[in-house]
Amino acid sequence: MQAVAEYVGNIRRSAGTILNGMAVTFSYMFRPPITTQYPDRTPKPITDMIPERYRGFLWVDLDICISCLLCERACPIDCIKIEDAKIDKILVTSAIDGKATPKIKDPTRFDINLYKCMYCALCVEPCPTGAIHFTKEFEGATPNLSDLHLRLVSPERKAKVMEAADEAAKKEAAKKAAKEAAAAAAAATAAPAAPATAPPPAPASDGAPPAGE
């Protein structure tokens, strides 16, 4: 008798649980899918859907970059390479706190090897003006590895910067020469015997930043 009860109970329980289970799956027929159909059928552009602090590709706002090289030194895998030229001192607005920051150098080369970059943010943290920052771009698939070697300073920009640097150097040299001349004149009027001990005049500048700067 007990065996019969168990037998019938087994059948009843299987039928009941199967019906309940099928009700669960059937209820999903009335729920919308949660799939994001990346990349072409997203409800809004994919960059609007990823989080605010997402670590995508690095990018540099060259206008506010003061070429302090902190990022280059911070990078543990040396994927940032910067060269720069001295320019006239200007004030740039920091992207972090909006404060005016003096800028006396402008990069003539700012390369980032995105295929080496490990997105550690060690370069982003020390940046005083917030020039180097993460973007929300992440689609780096390319047939050429060199496409991922970012050369942020374009040749045109480099030419402009060099021009500005030349001008700045000329101005500097002129200023120095004027200063020298003034000093010489002052010295000459103060003590005519002194010129023998005065420092030699600075050589004509060719745009290279003076050593020890």
Partner: protein, 404 residues
């Protein structure tokens, strides 16, 4: 309509017109005619049907898992199956070096024939059937056994342990489950008094309480016995042990590629339709439609009714697949021999007694049908309540749009 069905009538008419009396020519014409019609059926119905079923299944499976499913090829991905078929056609037909090449090559065709043969007796409407054989249901059971042979050959000839295990499991499963499904269909045959598929449908009516399923309590259980064992026979989940992905890689079709692989899957999805159509034919009133449908529209409406019922059952097959986990081999055998076979025998005896002792014109028969219908409706209502509960309990966002 005379016996022999549409094709036989057509060929007889043709022979009469030509004035052929020679036996040999008659046989040749019959053979050629059958081949021609088999090709037409294959091209126009079976392949698109299997393809569409694959699309249907993938979309439903996706929805049940909160995914989208194929939606790129054609509007809402409806042409996905053509792309898949073309891809399989273009792939290399690889035969492993250690395989038994001849058997390996022939196995998919056996599986395919086992599926295709059933379409000979499967009716679509009162007029549309390739051949209304007197032994319809018997033929159906017999020709389906080809699938088992094909699967065993595929498993053996691959010369691969996973394929062989899959083939052996499949053999055990199909041989076991033929019995309960045969017993369930036999109960229907007893009630209808004929093996002909058209005869069984003609014995039923259009209304649910005239369907075989609701005719007697025994036929009601027989429907479930048939459906469960048919699922096992075509190796559908939860009885997909022969191709259990997590255990056997892909079972008997592990070594197959290209078109031969596609044939296995074509057969699998067409088999979905076959078991649904057989269940529709035997239990759900087949192509029967209300008599108020005008004469001119009847052929079309009948086909639509039959296909709609079949597709509902295909939906249930898919739904079961994505709900229930795969059972173990011992559970599979236990379910068959301890539950389905005894229940099948009780059904058979009960149906025999019912046919012998309960006159069809008595009120008892009608009362039973109505009671069973009410019972089924109650189960459906309980089910709807459960679905509602599931949606409410999870605070689900409800979206009734089927095309997302």
């Amino acid at each position: 309509m005379t016996d022999g069905g549409f094709v036989r009538q057509f060929l007889d008419g043709l022979l009469k017109q030509w004035g052929v009396t020679n036996d040999l020519v008659t046989v040749l014409v019959y053979g050629a005619g059958m081949l021609l019609f088999a090709t037409i059926v294959l091209l126009l119905w079976v392949a698109p049907l299997a393809g569409f079923t694959s699309y249907f299944e993938r979309r439903i499976a996706a929805r049940m898992q909160s995914r989208v499913g194929p939606n790129r090829v054609g509007p809402h991905g409806i042409l996905q199956w053509i792309a898949d078929g073309l891809k399989c056609l273009l792939k290399e037909d690889l035969i492993p070096r250690e395989a038994d090449a001849k058997l390996f090559k022939v196995a998919p065709y056996l599986v395919f024939f086992g599926m295709l043969g059933t379409f000979i007796v499967l009716p679509f409407s009162e007029w549309l059937v390739i051949a209304d054989l007197d032994i319809g249901v018997f033929f159906l059971m017999a020709v389906t056994a080809f699938v088992a042979v094909g699967i065993i050959i595929a498993g053996w000839s691959s010369n691969n342990k996973w394929a062989l295990l899959g083939g052996m499991r499949s053999a055990a499963q199909i041989v076991s489950y033929e019995i309960p499904s045969g017993l369930a269909l036999l109960a229907v045959v007893l009630t209808a008094g004929t093996l002909s598929t058209q005869g069984i449908i003609r014995d039923q009516g259009w209304a649910p309480w005239q369907w075989n399923m609701f005719r007697t309590p025994f036929l009601f259980t027989a429907f479930f016995v048939y459906f469960i064992s048919a699922l096992a026979e075509i190796n559908r989940a939860p009885f997909d042990l022969p191709e259990a992905e997590s255990e056997l890689v892909a079972g008997y079709n592990t070594e197959y590629s290209g078109m031969r692989f596609a044939l296995f899957f074509l057969a699998e999805w067409a088999d979905c339709y076959v078991i649904s159509a057989v269940a529709t034919m035997a239990f759900l009133g087949g192509w029967q439609i209300p008599p108020i449908v005008p004469e001119a529209a009847r052929p079309l409406v009948q086909v639509l009714a039959f296909v709609a019922k079949s597709f509902f059952l295909i939906f249930v097959v898919i739904w079961v697949r994505w709900t229930l986990p795969r059972i173990r081999v011992d559970q599979m055998m236990e379910l068959c021999w301890k539950y389905l076979v005894p229940i099948g025998f009780v059904n058979l005896l009960g149906t025999a007694a019912w046919v012998a002792f309960v006159p069809p014109n008595l009120g008892l028969a009608t009362a039973t049908s109505i009671t069973l219908c009410v019972l089924a409706a109650a189960v459906v209502l309980y089910f709807v309540a459960r679905v509602r509960y599931n949606l409410r309990a999870t605070n689900a966002e409800v979206s009734l749009n089927p095309f997302v």
